[in-house]
Symmetry: C5
């Protein structure tokens, strides 16, 4: 099943603003929470904890990363909001999984919404991720349990790269970076499918091609809708003077922005190519029809006059000419061959062959 | 009946600017007026009052909300204008129900025009709402009596949420928010209809589909026209330094703006999808035609030569070959089968089957 | 006759800049000039005066409005230019009736060019209007004598509205306002014609529809070309700090700007709807063709094999099977009915009915 | 022959920047140079001079205008560059006749590149003109000898207009103005051809129409490419604070800018109209086809069943019904008439007539 | 083989930012390095050196140009990064050969990414070039060994032009200039192919034309994607206040920017022309079909009624009229000629011939 075009907000209708209602598919499995706490020397990893366990005081010089898989349990979200002093409108945005990507700066934290995009069972899926970056903690909210952040977990465990040496802002950057990097396998998949479609449109002719073109166009529309606002997100972040962000963060941010623009560039050229491909498809449909028509016209044009001729001599009339010995087959077939010859020459001249 | 593309302003022609003329369908039912007056402790609700009853002095620390259902009675509007000292151009805008959404800041009040959008008997309807936010009062002008503001009324009655604790600007925000929130059920309805259309275009083939595509496109055009100027409205409000607006208003305003942009994003992706769908529809029309033509060509191509052959031997000529015993049925049917076979192989090669 | 796409400037070719040449159709009827002079107490109205009569000194506290119908008499324009000290480039612009709408601020006057749009004998006509607003006078230049300004004349005569109480800038505003207000009947006419076209495209099928679509598109192109630059005109006027404009002028200007943007919004949605309508028209052309083809294919497919069968038994061959008693009509017609039945079932399955 | 889409720069490949190479068609006729030197009192005109003759000192209060027809002789250009101290990149731009219109301000001169557009033997031709405006001289570089500047020459000779009274900047303006004014005859020609095409598309049907549409579209693309950058040129000039430009120049510049924008407006509406016209053309192609198909279907549908009927009674079978006296012609022709009648009614109902 | 739409970044997935991974086709031939070191007096050229040989101290007043052909050996890149103190994100960008053109200013160097475009075996190829401009060195990274920079090498060797007299920034400019200049032969090739296509579409009719149109469109999409961001690159460079750039660099930069905009202008007009050409192609497809259909309709319409007539008189019925002497051939052929005549006149009137 492909994703819904728009998620129902029926449950929210008429409620006061800031009321916490989960907007998405109902789910049964409980929200699962993972916690990492690390500094340069050591790290603690806990899986499947209760939300209350995340509220212990954070050790000095340490960064705590709380990853919440599933945002359908409003109680959990509410408790987090209360502990970390997060405005109810922010919590509302986290629960509203149809939110547009954006960044908002608050006094004690920065709040970022963006989309994770991946292929699942041949269909593109878009999942919302919320990030809250505080002084020494990062909260990440995912709709479903996923493995996108696994490489970062591994880097923390093995103290690879800079992540353990840096502050919370670097972790936030690493999470953003891994989400944006994950756009590219999807783009590559699209690129390959477009190349296959190109091949089909130009060299063979399949009726299914048009459906694949449609599917690709649809995916591009939704991908673009998810990635386009990220330009604004990065430029807002660049102009931020929050003391939560160190100088190196901005350097890395530029790298993310480059990737986002690269992704949009790819989507735009994909879109243009699909438009071209569809034009070619339409014209080859017309060509196909032309061919069929020409063939029908040739056959008809040759045999209809001949059948008329045969009809004439099938009449029960006294036709004086039929009595001559040479009339059939010499004369009759001669005429027929002549007619065929003239027609063939005519079609050759018209370049119908 | 769908809505008129544009409302006649004939009645206004040649009148001096600021002249109060109602631009809309003539109505017979009288204008109905509801009044709420509340503060944190208690509230008074009056229904179906005369306009003069609204002009009593407002109690200190209280907010008065006057909701006027119907703007076709210019006398009522004039009286309100006189009492609250509202510029005649503003009153003119309230009566001109084809007004573009906008916000205007005056010395003693802020004037907002926006559109309420809902589905009524399967057709999208657009209704104009005018809001005037003063120091301790809010005037709301609706074209028809509706239930969009009912949840807010309920919240006032039951002192739910913050509305009773806040000033008039919060009430104005709540009204705006409830109008914008009401866009989403309409968008959802559109989304579902597009998904159905998608299904029809790709999997079945119905001639009615094209009408539904047209209807959706039309609705998107008018929805977009109503919602697009709201971006400007919110950004104008954001830059306002009126002392009628408290700080928290701007925080809530950002939330409304996010919803508006989300709505526009949805409309844009709907529009793009419908364009794609229409392309697919056109190509499947062509495909359909191709199929019919191919079928006709196959039948004709097989039987026309055969009929000619039958015609030949129906001639009243002395044909020497017909005298042989083996000529019919062995030889004749043999030739016919041969012709059919060759044709079938030819079509197979051309991939016409 | 519809309007020319572009007016010939041949007469101007090679002349020095500022040379006064009328660019438009040649006309025979002389230029007619009307003058109004008014203040709060009284007014003088003169019709069909000579231009020289307009050059008397204007009474203190009075406003003089000189309306020139017809700009084809360069002598008149030159005299006006000389008396009111108007730059020759301005006079050139007044004569060049293909000028783009614009506003220009000079030391002693403000010069505005805009377009009057109306329907005349079912064709849209665009006429240029030039306005010159001085300290205590307004000059208005029309291409043809018209009745657009009549309501303003009436208001001056009867001292209705504010016009007699205000300065020249209010008169200029009133003239602008009446021109812009006159756009709306044209827009309404378009709206109605689009609704009719909509009806024709969706419910019936007329070949003439496409011409009406074209005519509407054409009118929208030219309407938009005339109205679009007015946005710039109003925003330039808003930023003007000329002492010819009083504060209330800017308030009224905002109202005009709102109307202009409303007009552009209407035109844009009209354009989008016509694009959609044309798509539907094209697809119903295709549908029509499909239907004809299907019908032809059905008839052919049923009768061509049958005719072949009849041809077979019309052959002058010794066919052993024809000798049986039951061959005709039982067997023969049985086969024919069978063939028809199979075909009908086949078409049913293909959904060709 | 139409113009090349792009001129070959092969000759320039690999050369250091600033190397002077002529990019254009090779020409044989030598470069011809005309010189004017004038002040308010008198003027000197020399034709076909050698370039060295232009290097005499310019008299005080005089303006020298050197017009170079043909830029294919790099030696001439080099000498001019050396004498007037012109940067080699500027000289390169003059020789590169595929240059984009632009303006560049240097210390001692202003350099302007723009395009002259005219019709020659029914094809639009674009020619580059380079202008260098110095303190008391103007250099103009044309690709071919032309008569566009003749009116200016005449004005200088006869001391008409202001040209003899003004400085070099007025001459530069006059040259610019005459080039821009020359766009309008081309636009008028286009406008007329579009009107003819309009007529052809709507009232008659010619296969050649589509080629004319294509030619017009092509011309618009190249015209627009030549004229569009001039907006930037004028706005750059407007912001210039070079002391080579007097105050009145800016007033005149505004006039040129208005003409350029008017030209672009015309091109844009032409483009939109051609798009509409092409749509109508396509739909009338479809209509045409529909008509042919309907006609074929009607003829076939009427005669195919009748032919079958005739075939039946041409069979050599014992058909009991044929023995009755009344069978032919009464009964047989009766059936045939009935069939025709039913078909005709059917087509009437389907509105195929 | 045409180029991949997008290069796989699979190898990079999950790695920390700044990790050096080559993104491109795997290659076997080793990276080849050329070094030039020159000043005004003399120069040293070394080919196929090891990277370590490039790390000797650079002589005063000399410029060292290190050209690295092939970026698939991360070890080489790492060593260069370590020696010249280049940020790991820059090195990552050099290896990521799908990078968007950009410029980045660092403390001790300026980093530029752009695309080299050329035709190779009739297919357009895009290759990434990275440039690092330091105080007295320039590093250039190419994907493949090429001859684009050969003219610059020759100029250095022969001390032609200014390159030996100038600093490293001039060398960087010369490299940029030679890459941008190399766009024009590709554009010319496109221009010629479009002209050929134009000819084919208008004067003949080939089915292959549509593939060439597609190929050209595709090339334009990718060319534009490569060249468009260069506008931003040049404007960023223009605003740079790095002391690595001398004043003359900015003058030359303007020249490059002009070329880039010229290139984009060409691409845009190519794109518009191809869109027009495709429209014409589609309409001539329709025209073709119309012709075939008309021909078929004419033949059918003439012979089908005649065949019916022949069928009538082939019936084995007692037809009284056939007994008259004059019935055949006079009367019968008379009717047939009459029918043909009427049909021909009808088609003439319909302008089907």
């Amino acid at each position: 099943m492909t994703q819904k075009l728009i998620r129902s907000k029926n449950k929210k209708k008429g409620l006061p603003p800031g009321a916490l209602v989960y907007v998405g598919k109902n789910k049964e499995n409980p929200v699962s929470i993972d916690v990492f706490e690390y500094n340069e020397e050591n790290y603690i990893e806990k899986k499947g904890v209760l939300i209350e366990e995340c509220f212990s005081p954070i050790q000095e010089n340490s960064v705590r990363w709380i990853n919440i898989n599933g945002v359908h349990d409003t109680a959990v979200i509410e408790k987090i909001g209360a502990f970390f002093q997060i405005h109810s409108l922010v919590l509302e945005d986290i629960l509203n999984t149809d939110q547009r990507p954006k960044v908002e700066e608050y006094e004690n934290f920065i709040f970022i919404i963006l989309k994770m995009i991946y292929h699942y069972k041949k269909a593109m899926r878009i999942e919302q991720v919320g990030l809250i970056l505080g002084k020494n903690f990062v909260l990440s909210f995912q709709e479903e349990e996923g493995d996108v952040f696994d490489p970062i977990r591994e880097r923390i465990r093995q103290n690879k790269g800079k992540v353990r040496k840096m502050k919370a802002d670097y972790l936030a950057y690493a999470l953003l970076d891994s989400i944006v990097d994950n756009y590219f396998p999807v783009l590559e998949n699209m690129g390959e499918r477009i190349e296959e479609t190109e091949d089909e449109v130009i060299h063979q002719f399949k009726k299914e091609t048009v459906r694949e073109i449609y599917r690709l166009r649809r995916e591009i529309i939704f991908f673009r809708k998810s990635i386009w606002p990220l330009r604004e997100v990065t430029s807002t972040l660049e102009r931020t003077d929050s003391n939560l962000l160190s100088e190196s963060f901005f350097l890395y941010l530029k790298d993310i922005r480059d990737h986002i623009i690269e992704g949009i560039d790819h989507l735009d050229s994909f879109r243009d190519m699909l438009a071209s491909l569809f034009d070619i498809y339409l014209s080859s449909l017309s060509n196909k029809m032309n061919e069929v028509m020409k063939f029908l016209a040739i056959i008809s044009t040759i045999f209809i006059p001949l059948t008329f001729l045969a009809g004439i001599y099938g009449m029960n009339l006294k036709m004086p000419e039929v009595q001559f010995e040479w009339f059939y087959p010499q004369f009759f077939w001669g005429i027929i061959l002549l007619v065929v010859l003239i027609m063939v020459l005519f079609f050759k001249k018209k370049k119908w062959f």
